[in-house]
């Protein structure tokens, strides 16, 4: 039987992938239900991001852009909420804009998550924050907002006029003190092209697959800082001393990575052993 089937090595090389999925479900779910609290370190990138947030002054106008669908939000929500906490703590004035229809309800989730901080700082809609909703469907819309904000946006997400809010002070790209972009990649390049390259300060929290493509912009100074995926969000939570979804997810993250490494080793050892056995048998 062992000779015919290739034995344990073949089993290691060709195991049913459904077991991998099943184990991944368990490996992720169990630590989420009972977190261990494994220690994490803070990367220089996150310290740089935190440093930029610390420079925000009371009354600064921050364009809080959600370039994400709902699935992507799950990955970067820790960074979004932690950033929002710092901005509220700094008394910044915040304008939410979204680039995907699925994200239109995300600003309310964020506001719900920082409800206590907003109340403590007496944040008022219009005076301190505005939700524009779906205002960045394409590059032309982003370019128009950079060039003539008042001409391209006149109402908030519920159809109320933005006249009379703090957005009266915004005419073009120069009037924003900071763009905090949270992205899976939808209109981030447009924001970069029409705001950051002109000189609007911009920080980015992106999903994991985008990090290699976004990092060069930090090195060249177009972005002031980058927060990397959920891991970056967890590190930011650690820095601001407010544990949230990022830190609780780190155990599941770590075990998920261990699992991947283990399966890569098992698969490769199995493949190597199986092919060598096959060659030996062939003579």
């Amino acid at each position: 039987m062992a000779d015919e089937s290739g034995g344990i090595m073949k089993l290691m090389a060709e195991y049913d992938r459904r077991y991998v999925y099943l184990i991944l479900f368990l490996v992720v779910t169990i630590p989420l239900l009972s977190p261990i609290g494994m220690p994490i370190s803070v990367s220089p990138d996150t310290r740089q991001y935190y440093g930029i947030l610390q420079q925000v002054q009371p009354g600064d106008k921050v364009f809080f852009t959600l370039n994400t669908e709902f699935s992507g939000y799950n990955e970067i929500q820790s960074g979004i909420i932690a950033t929002m906490r710092v901005l509220v703590e700094k008394n910044a004035r915040i304008c939410f804009g979204v680039a995907h229809v699925e994200a239109t309800s995300i600003p309310e989730l964020i506001l719900k998550a920082v409800h206590d901080e907003l109340e403590a700082k007496d944040y008022q809609y219009g005076r301190d924050y505005v939700i524009l909703g779906y205002v960045m469907p394409n590059e032309a819309a982003v370019a128009a907002m950079a060039q003539d904000f008042q001409g391209s946006v006149t109402q908030d997400w519920l159809g109320r006029p933005i006249a009379g809010t703090f957005l009266d002070e915004i005419d073009d790209w120069q009037d924003w003190d900071l763009i905090a972009d949270f992205t899976t990649g939808i209109q981030t390049t447009s924001l970069l092209n029409h705001f950051a390259l002109r000189g609007t300060p911009m920080i980015v929290n992106c999903i994991g697959v985008m990090i290699p493509s976004q990092k060069p912009y930090v090195d060249t100074g177009v972005y002031l800082a980058i927060l990397q995926s959920m891991r970056g969000g967890a590190e930011l939570e650690l820095l601001i001393g407010h544990p949230g979804p990022g830190l609780t997810a780190m155990d599941a993250f770590t075990f998920g990575h261990y699992m991947l490494i283990l399966f890569i080793i098992i698969g490769n050892v199995g493949y190597l052993g199986y092919t060598r056995n096959a060659q030996r048998r062939a003579g």
Binding site: V28, N74, N193, A252
Partner: protein, 236 residues
């Protein structure tokens, strides 16, 4: 205090999400089709509604405010709809041409910086000043870029020093691909962990998640064993 609406949202959400994950079972099944079609329906509806809302806010409202030139954009947008009419579909070519032209115009002005010069600029680093760690990073980037670029010299014979450099560049590319794969896995795992977390926080949602997991797995396995998967799954 959770109300019945919130509970219903979580119960339906977890069930549909787990049905979506049932594709990992490796066989087409009716639960996956139900979840997929539901998502497509909801997403299409949502997209239409929000885009109409966008047209209203940025187009109609501004036209009523006296910005008459926007009428042309509405006309062009309406012409785009002729795509669906077999006889008059050519009418849509004009707005498509305008959209493509405007998009190219906007992109070309800036993409040369963001997609080209900035990327090159990021590889030009100080090599003799700065902290040791930064110097190490900078040297690594510069050397790797040079070796990798030689791998892409197609018009010269790869021999001698150039051949060695290209070979070394090839191995560096393998390392880079490995790093990108790891980043991709981290990203995908992040999406998955984030999703699972959205149904484990707050605590009261967890039973619905676990229940949906077991229910969907049980149903799919039962249908598979009973030979019902093919029978109940609609054809694509």
């Amino acid at each position: 205090m959770t109300d019945i609406i919130e509970i219903s949202v979580v119960a339906v959400g977890t069930f549909l999400a787990m049905s979506m994950f049932s594709t990992l079972y490796g066989k087409s099944n009716p639960l996956y089709v139900l979840a997929e079609e539901s998502y497509i329906g909801f997403a299409t509806g949502l997209t239409i509604i929000w885009n109409i809302d966008y047209i209203w806010k940025t187009g109609i409202v501004n036209i009523m405010g006296g910005d008459w030139v926007l009428i042309f954009s509405l006309i062009l947008g309406a012409m785009m709809l002729f795509r669906v009419h077999p006889k008059y579909s050519y009418v849509a070519r004009l707005p498509i041409a305008v959209v493509l032209g405007a998009q190219f115009g906007l992109s070309l002005r800036t993409i040369i910086f963001s997609g080209f010069t900035q990327q090159i600029q990021a590889t030009i680093r100080p090599l003799f000043s700065g902290p040791t760690r930064t110097l190490l990073y900078n040297w690594t980037i510069v050397i790797c870029v040079i070796f990798m670029l030689t791998f892409f010299f197609y018009t010269v014979e790869m021999e001698g020093l150039l051949g060695t450099s290209a070979k070394f560049g090839e191995y560096l590319l393998y390392i880079a691909f490995g790093a990108v794969f790891a980043q991709t896995f981290m990203g995908r795992l992040g999406l998955f962990v984030g999703f699972m977390q959205s149904y484990t926080i707050p605590d009261w949602e967890t039973p619905y998640l676990i229940g949906s997991m077991l229910l969907v797995l049980g149903l799919v396995v039962y249908m598979d064993r009973a030979g019902l998967l093919e029978k109940l799954t609609p054809e694509e």
